[in-house]
């Protein structure tokens, strides 16, 4: 297999807060040029991982490398090469949009005023407006535009489309995809909207309880999962070579969402292809597929 270049590599990464784990033994590699969805319930470690990758928070253990460097507030070249958008999208509400752009230009050597102005023109956001007078959707667009105009190699976006109406959300995601098409930036974004994941992401990382439970290419994920169902109150053991992620029983039968590790041919089970959303949801429900005593990383490696 070709060694793909990676933009983010974590090995046994820990983040310990006073009484809880923000992230526990997180090992993952994110290849370059992808649009990666970071999915998980609130408190599962998404923001923790993004903040550490942006150099805003120090790991408690393990190693983290971003674009081959160890991120910290002092890593200057990473500050230029990485764009981070906080969940709270901090903006100066009394500034005009044009002033925000000049502020961005002064602070970022790699800034492109053309990129910034083109994006805002496409979105019909006047440069003269005061930030505080813009709608929530427009403020999100301005915050993302400031991030994109830096032309970073890696964009770390913490719930960039949260709390936006459907049209604003669609505009924001298109803006982001246009940037990816033009510059080839890698993107890691956290989200709760599984439909966005299916639309724009080609790599998914699922976090649950501070652990990574799934991390792979979306196409690979879809190809290696199936729904097996059977009618009747059968206790029939599922075929060998599969890992059950989620099981649902009804009065009429059983339905299993499984990861298929070996080809099987057991005609007693009906086999269906789940959508990416169904698969991610199954992992979110179960937290971790460690029924057979293995952890997610081992399963991951075993599946390759």
């Amino acid at each position: 297999m070709n060694e793909e270049e990676s933009v983010l590599e974590a090995v046994n990464l820990d983040k310990r807060y006073r009484r809880t784990w923000g992230l526990r033994e997180c090992t993952l590699t994110i290849p370059k040029g992808r649009v990666v969805a970071l999915v998980g319930p609130n408190g599962s470690g998404k923001s923790t991982l993004l903040r550490m990758a942006a150099g805003l928070s120090e790991p408690s253990g393990g190693t983290l490398r971003v674009l081959g460097r160890s991120p910290s507030p002092g890593t200057d070249d990473l500050r230029e090469r990485v764009g981070y958008l906080d969940q709270d999208r901090p903006l100066y509400r009394s500034f005009r949009v044009a002033e925000m752009l000049r502020f961005g230009e002064m602070n970022n050597p790699t800034w492109s005023m053309d990129v910034a102005k083109n994006h805002l023109a496409l979105l019909d956001i006047p440069l003269r407006s005061r930030v505080g007078n813009l709608s929530g959707g427009q403020q999100a667009q301005v915050a993302l535009t400031l991030c994109l105009a830096k032309q970073p190699e890696l964009l770390l976006l913490d719930e960039p489309a949260a709390a936006l109406d459907p049209v604003a959300r669609e505009d924001l995601l298109r803006l982001l995809m246009r940037q990816v098409a033009d510059s080839g930036s890698s993107v890691v974004l956290s989200t709760h909207a599984l439909s966005d994941v299916a639309a724009i992401c080609d790599y998914v990382v699922v976090l649950a309880h501070a652990h990574v439970v799934l991390s792979n290419d979306t196409e690979y994920i879809v190809e290696t999962h199936r729904i097996l169902s059977i009618v009747g109150d059968s206790d029939l053991a599922p075929p060998p070579g599969i890992t059950i992620i989620n099981e649902q029983r009804s009065a009429r039968g059983r339905s299993l969402l499984v990861r298929v590790e070996l080809p099987f041919n057991d005609i007693r089970w009906r086999v269906d292809r789940p959508t990416l959303e169904e698969i991610v949801l199954a992992y979110l429900r179960e937290g971790s597929p460690h029924r057979d005593g293995r952890n997610a990383d081992e399963i991951e490696n075993g599946a390759r």
């Binding site: 298109r174 098409a181 639309a199 879809v222 009906r270």
Partner: protein, 135 residues
């Protein structure tokens, strides 16, 4: 040469089909229906990304697959075009379209709740019938 063929992609995220496959299928249908013809240019990746919310990597992936199938070809610096070979060499096109038709049929059959065993049985029956006709 038609620079802007009227091809508008759409994605169905509930279909269970990978997004790149859906694009491939839509181009294939456009070619077989005559909407796209030899030498027509496919929309640029940037145009597609502006048109629908999709990852540009997915569009690249779909265009590579179309090239692999001999339906389109990339011309350096110009874009991706429907290839004239897609008519000249019907074997490849015919074969891939038959494969696709079968895959589509299997998906439809599964949606209709037909299980794998019945699908295999239907296939065996059809093959037997074909043999009967030949002999």
């Amino acid at each position: 040469m038609n620079r802007h063929p009227s091809l508008t992609f759409r994605l169905d995220h509930q279909s269970g089909l990978a997004p790149y496959r859906q694009l491939v299928d839509q181009v294939r249908h456009a070619v077989s229906s005559g909407l796209l013809q030899d030498g027509d240019q496919l929309p640029s990746v940037r145009d597609v990304v502006t048109q629908i919310t999709i990852n540009p990597n997915t569009v690249h992936r779909a265009y590579r697959e179309l090239e692999h199938q001999g339906i389109a070809e990339g011309r350096a610096g110009l874009g991706t075009f429907i290839t004239s070979r897609s008519r000249v060499a019907p074997n490849v096109a015919e074969r891939t379209s038959l494969e696709q038709a079968l895959r589509d049929w299997v998906i439809d059959a599964r949606r209709a709740g037909i299980d794998e065993e019945t699908i295999s049985e239907l296939m065996r029956t059809a093959l037997r019938q074909d043999g009967d006709v030949r002999s």
